[in-house]
Symmetry: C2
Subunit: 257 residues, 2 copies
């Protein structure tokens, strides 16, 4: 079972859109996938149409009697895809969770129970480096970083790269940055700005090998698919969004093989 | 002195871009403005070119000997604009800050010291409803909500509107939603999706009066201005971005008068 996290503490860069699109593509390719929505905003849960009353991840974050396991929270969305949903209230539960002496190992230990049921676990995270994101990284073999190539995007990335190094040293020697990919790459009028940042990042020797060749173009079908609560490959199979994420998934598979 | 907060726990919707653009416009109109960067990502601090070594808000969040006041952290950017910068480390300091029994009143009490120095205080917040955002709301007379009209944008807004009602009831009877405005309103190809959500929100009796008439169009000049660390009105005074934010500022002034 391979565990991958999508993270970037900068908001709105396409973490959820990417995590969902990659998960759906892995299912299309015949894999069994568990998707974990570790963001209290619950965007992935909403976009997947999970019933609001289905028990959520936040309930597993407390300790004591009658606390559900992560394994018991998996909701089958289709034959190849299950999801652990989140909920707004989880922002509160995350506070107590972060006080547990070993919260960093939560996902790693809980996911041992589902080893035989899934080929991949894809974890979507909130735009912060709080306890849930840390625990997701400690459980993962790789983190994939969607990035908008501009000032704020580049700034946020250093914080995440630093965090990955610290977690690798203290908790998870396997953890690495699987790749950085550009998202919402706009039509021509932004090209100059995006290209400048993309070039700067590619020129940085520490980052150049991490930059993925597949870029995700801005494409309204991705936004629409979420509103319709359908995978992009169903909603608009011939769209740029579908094409770009099929290729990105291929490149992810190459990078983790 | 009027205190306004820009907030939305959804990431990447244009909180920082809006807060900065409105603050710069208020300065252009002759007001004295204090900008508070209450987001540990420090995007507003970066975009304003504040020296990284200038003491940041996080230092004021702890208690005890030698802790600086907010007033002592104001950095004059120009004759009309000062800023309290933030820093990445503030994400850690915010954890302890949230344990103080009266953290909700931090900004309200600290800002009393600067009453006579500024006409407006503009507070930019992180994409969450954590202690710093709560404290900013408790100090404010109004919160302005940038929103991308789509599924994830609308979902996040309910959480914030609920929070405003709770804070109004328990801490700050003056607090209200000053207005909701659409941002990054895309070119024609997204219009159908944006229009659908915009119509739905306008049809909601509880929200209709909050939706502002000024919409912010997608405009690369806003992104570029940040990279150049200049106000939009300097960088591209004739751009859509500059025009839209001048009008938005006018509408804000009307709504709070
Ligand atoms: N390539 C793209 N083209 C067009 N729209 C996109 C693209 N990727 C994402 N979006 C839209 O941009 C918005 C932000 O994307 P998304 O919510 O996936 O980002 P995020 O990083 O998960 O945000 P958050 O930080 O709030 O979790 C969404 O409304 C989504 O539909
Ligand atoms: N109207 C616009 N047109 C084009 N680009 C924009 C517009 N508004 C914001 N942007 C760009 O979109 C990105 C997100 O905007 P911004 O950082 O202001 O959002 P935010 O809500 O403050 O994000 P966060 O949740 O991370 O704090 C930035 O790179 C910004 O330059
Ligand atoms: Mg997300
Ligand atoms: Mg911001």
């Amino acid at each position: 079972m391979r565990i991958l996290t999508f993270a970037n503490n900068k908001g709105g860069v396409g973490k959820t859109t990417s995590a969902l699109s990659v998960a759906h593509r892995l299912v299309e390719l015949g894999s069994k996938v568990l998707f974990i929505d570790a963001d209290p905003q619950a965007n992935a849960s909403t976009a997947s149409g999970l019933p609001a009353e289905h028990p959520h991840l936040g309930l597993a974050l407390t300790e004591g009697e009658g606390v559900p396991t992560l394994a018991s929270l998996c909701y089958p969305l289709s034959t190849g895809l299950s999801m652990v949903r989140s909920a707004r209230i989880m922002a509160q539960q995350e506070k107590g969770f972060g006080n547990a002496p070993d919260y960093q190992f939560f996902f790693r230990h809980q996911l041992e129970d589902v080893q035989s049921r899934f080929d991949y676990v894809i974890i979507d995270t909130a735009p912060n480096l709080g306890p849930l994101t840390v625990s997701a990284l400690v459980a993962s073999e790789a983190v994939f970083i969607p990035l908008q190539p501009n000032l704020f995007g580049s700034e946020g990335m250093t914080a995440l790269i630093d965090m990955v190094a610290r977690l690798k040293r203290n908790f998870n020697p396997q953890l690495r940055v699987g790749g950085i990919f550009f998202t919402k790459y706009s039509p021509a009028y932004r090209k100059a700005l995006h290209h400048q940042y993309a070039r700067d990042l590619q020129a940085d020797p520490a980052l150049a090998s991490l930059i993925m060749s597949q870029t995700i173009r801005e494409n309204v079908s991705l936004d629409e698919a979420q509103s319709m609560q359908r995978p992009i490959y169903d909603w608009a199979p011939n769209s740029n969004g579908a094409a770009d994420y099929r290729s990105l998934t291929d490149e992810i598979l190459t990078r983790i093989s």
